[in-house]
Structures are given as structure tokens and as C-alpha cells.
Symmetry: C2
Amino acid sequence: MTLSDALTALADPVRRTIVKELAGGPDWTRACGTFDLPVTKATRSHHFAVLRQAGVVEQRDVGSRRLNRLRRPEFDAAFPGLLDLVLGERRASPGES
Amino acid sequence: MTLSDALTALADPVRRTIVKELAGGPDWTRACGTFDLPVTKATRSHHFAVLRQAGVVEQRDVGSRRLNRLRRPEFDAAFPGLLDLVLGERRASPGES
């Protein structure tokens, strides 16, 4: 995990939405398709790949579903305070980035 | 200042280099042209504009020089810990992002 990858991953508003939703529920309960995101399926897959490669999320395939876990303790240990800033951000209004 | 702009500004390695160099000296002593950056003059100007618009740096024209100040107290108040992560990052090796 590098700070560069972490900042790049979290600089995108759609990816921050994914992170906030994951933080709101138990690990391994959310499949990628269950997030209400204003993007195509290909773009959605790209966003999850960026989050995974940056070490923000971990994924596990269960049947036809790809389940997610926010790597919160690992990420907090590597970059103290960074996820807290994202999770504390107010939800952006439509049209805002 | 928004978290989105702050993360975008700091996600770039050249901009993090500028921030680290500014943190190493007194306010208002570094002109934009004094940073040793592997980019064109136009790209350099773009990077400073992004940092300024995100509220990371403040600029002041003195004669023909554009001097810079890292808005550290303001930025720390808005996004606690974020600049510390950047300033604590080891200097990237050539070729690394």
C-alpha cells in the first residue's frame, strides 16, 4: 500500500461513496452490484479494482457474487486518520464532486 | 476547501514534492521557479494552480516572482492529519509514483 495509491483511490467521489457505504455495514455482506452508483457496469468494475489495488477493500467471490470488505484496520494502521476524514465528509449534493 | 479538492491536489506526486519542499522552509521564501520539478513550465503552473485552488498553498506576487506559503494551519484545521501523512511519506525513488 502506498500513500499515492491511497490518495488517488480516495480522490474520486464515486469511490468515496463506495467506501462510506461499506463502512456502514458488516464485512462481506455487500456485493459490488448492490451499490447505487451513477456509472456504467464497466466503470463500476474499474472503481472497485482501483480500491482493491490501493488496499482499501478486499474482495471474495462467493458463487456469482463478489463480496467486499473495507480493510479499515489495515488502512488505519498504514494511514492514520485518512479514512476518518472520508467517512466524516458530508454526503455531496447532486452535481458536486 | 473541499476534501475532494484536497485529495485530488495531494494525489499527484509532483504536487506532494512541492508541498514537502514548502514545509521545509519559512513562508513566502520560495518562488514557483525555484522548485526542481521534472515537468514543463506550463505543467508546473498547472500544479501550483491546483494546489492554490484546493487551499493547500497561498501565493503572492512580489515583483516578477510568485512567492508561496503552505497553508498548514488552515489545512490542518480543515483536514486533520492529512498533511502529516504527506509530509511523513518517504521521498519516492525515481520512477515511482
